[in-house]
Amino acid sequence: MSTFLNTDMVALILMCAVATFATRIGGYMLMARMKSIPPRLVAALNAVPAAVLTTLVAPAFYAGEIDIKIAMAVALVIGLRFSVMPMLLAGWCIVMVFRHLL
């Protein structure tokens, strides 16, 4: 480990922390000001996490090697029935088999 805390990294982390705290207090502040939020805005806000997370999944599949592609496809099928742990375990086993046994 070259450095304990890098200034740029700490600044980035703290900016992420401020952004996160803003979301945690934002709704409260908003409620104090207005009684209701427009439904289209609520629908848009509701869609933000799924939309953002999808952009981390789809290109990873697209750009991934064959081991990643198979692991993600199997995890998706498992995910329709089971929770996150079986998905991670199956995906992990598949890439480990590809990388160490095949």
Binding site: T3, I13, A17, P39, V48, T54, L76, S83, G91
Partner: protein, 235 residues
Amino acid sequence: MSSNSDFAEGLRGAFPIMASAAPFAVLFGAVAIANGQTVAEAALMSATVFAGASQLVGIELFGHKVQPWLIVLSVLAVNFRHILYSAAIARFISHFTPLQKIIGFHLLTDPQFAQSVQRGESGKKVSFAWYLGFGVMIFVPWVTLTVAGGIFGRLVGDPRMIGIDVLLPIYFMEMVLGFRRKAGFLPIVVVSALASVLAYRYVGSPWHVSIGAVAGVALAAFLPSATAGAEEPVE
């Protein structure tokens, strides 16, 4: 009513949640090291951001050498749901002092929100002692296990050899699947997926994140379901 027993009840209530979140704290620590953070930086991030999914998103983008402002924006985007939480929780914690509110909002995670609303709606008082006990039981192990994961990650070295790189996309996939009963889920995800892959191919990383997300969110605002019963801010 005793605030000590409320605090203890909070600690006990959060224990199973902490146990299920524990592997992700270890995972975050290990991935943070693999993507260039130090153990101290990973711990600082766990303590100050304290939002698992967004931490993993942030560290993933950092590994891709994405510009800082886009990392902050993506963390903000993943954490956007907290706005709905703090709006929905307002009526139960309006009796907190300002300092208690600041501490309380920092500890506002998905389970903290769900349990607080459940407690408030069942007629029990959401006391600060209970709220703090619940939050502390998640916060302290979260930071501690990040350090443990980071130390483990440093010992291992190459993350590919132990297959760490496949875990994040699958973890994010599970989170996406978690929204699958929401209104407009399929069209939003399909549009975000297509837009992000096209942007990845033709514009380049990291623009695929913002382009894909904006496409999905814009669609959500204009779907017919947007104006029908969309008020419920639940996950």
